[in-house]
Chain length 295, copies 2
């Protein structure tokens, strides 16, 4: 199966998995459940789910466990987008080419949607029997919590808020993104790897190094796309970060140097996989997809 | 130890436990961590922690495990208060006698505070070795997620939002409160009970029945207090629910019948404990404290 077919298959399966996990829109409170479904289903590249699957294949994890781990990460990601788009945060009206959750519903509903999606992510990871080894499953809950909280994703958001209008150095910008997007991307890959029946510590370490490089690369490319693309292509409001005076890799490094950095991070991501031959194929392809989607 | 000394001891210990769990305010992002501490520490009756401890004593659970379980529930409760007070929800400027989190900080910070406190609750419950039995610890994560999400507390909030200005029946009001406050109160007691080294299914069932009755009683008494007290005594804006046209037990039943209902729920809560003698003492005392704090 080529990479496009592989990723389309996963995107299709993940849509079904998330559809099954999310409460039906006719279950009370139905407005909340409808809004949760609106925020999660029918969109997104599911990059985090692809990472979980690629890492899961690398570690020979059963696909059913990988699907649930990937779904938990996608739910956290979806919650963060809903809250980030709210008027008191980025105040963005458009997400994945449609009105963002608070525009389609209302602010109070969007707040609860984000809250309930986060909870649902932890519920999914805590379902009995997801792994045969309950201690390791508990470890997965812990990984997701570390990646999402005040010293991970939510902390990155707070650093981002505090950085508006400031002149950050590249190192400071990197610190922000390691938290804001990197932590959850890293968790996605780790949870895919940890979903295996037997843990191979060396492979998990390789996945971890890969995911840290790819997490930064993802953000660098996002900044490049944001500076180059128009709103229609992007599916969200383009040029928003520069407009709102937020530092980006492009504003700090310039476009050419940012593209060069993405390439360097791509090489860095692949290095720990070199010893593993074909089993790392999907991780390699995904790294290429993430870093070269724009150029 | 009499009940007052017992509860003061727990409140004091929980303050220290939560202080240890919350990241220090000098850890980056320091504004977020400072705000998280502001929202959690130095206030509240810690009713949920008291319930966890009373149920833990009833099931002979080790106090260190009960403390962590109780802390997880208190963190969820604190997150819900921060988000509920925000302008797009109840828009309340006062909480526990001081400015609510978004007034003391700002809306964006309050949003992230709530998000990060929820995550922290799940991190606490997923810490390795909290229980010797990892499968049961995972079950505790699941209990907390069920109680907090769209079919528990967050769902109750959504029903509450949708009920403003409506004439609810007593049954509909009850359904709202079973979700909005009852689910987490029930989880607090269950998590205390599940913290035991050995599970006694009958005792857990008794705790569950007790907690369901006491959860409703808690809300009935809250409505009574809200209708009777002034803002200074209550530590939050009094009469707010009636002013904002929200149905309460007092508006639906009248004050006298609401007081009678609180008494009935008290009796209901105690019934399943009758067979257990002195081991149920704290649960009994706590039921009395919760239902009779106003009259």
């Amino acid at each position: 199966m080529d990479f496009n077919a592989w990723s389309l298959d996963i995107q299709t399966r993940m849509e079904r998995v998330l559809d099954d996990i999310l409460p039906a829109a006719n279950i009370i409170p139905s407005r909340l459940h409808g809004a949760m479904r609106y925020a999660v289903l029918g969109g997104g590249k599911r990059v985090r789910a692809l990472l979980a699957h690629a890492a899961g294949e690398f570690c020979q994890a059963p696909i059913s466990a990988v699907e649930q781990s990937a779904a938990a990460v996608e739910l956290i990601h979806a919650y963060s987008l809903v809250h980030d788009d709210m008027p008191c945060m980025d105040d963005d009206d458009l997400r994945r080419g449609k009105p963002s959750c608070h525009k389609q519903y209302d602010d109070a509903t969007a707040l609860l949607v984000g809250d309930a999606l986060q909870t649902l992510a932890f519920k999914v990871l805590a379902e009995p029997g997801l792994l045969r080894d309950a201690a390791r499953q508990l470890h997965m809950v812990h990984i997701l919590a570390m990646a999402s909280g005040s010293r991970g994703m939510a902390g990155g958001q707070a650093i981002d808020l505090a950085s508006v209008g400031l002149d950050l150095t590249q190192t400071e910008l990197e610190q922000m993104h390691i938290h804001k997007t990197g932590a959850l991307i890293r968790a996605a890959a780790l949870l895919g790897a940890e979903s295996a029946d037997t843990v191979d510590a060396d492979r998990i370490k390789a996945v971890d190094h890969y995911a840290q490089a790819i997490g930064l690369a993802f953000q660098v490319v996002d900044d490049i796309l944001d500076s180059e693309a128009d709103t229609t292509t992007l599916g969200k409001t383009a040029g928003k970060d520069a407009d709102s005076n937020k530092p980006t890799y492009v504003t700090i490094l310039g476009l050419e140097r940012a593209k060069q950095l993405a390439q360097e991070l791509y090489d860095e991501a692949l290095a720990p996989l070199a010893a593993y031959g074909d089993s790392a194929l999907r991780l390699q392809q995904l790294a290429k997809f993430i870093t070269q989607r724009s150029f």
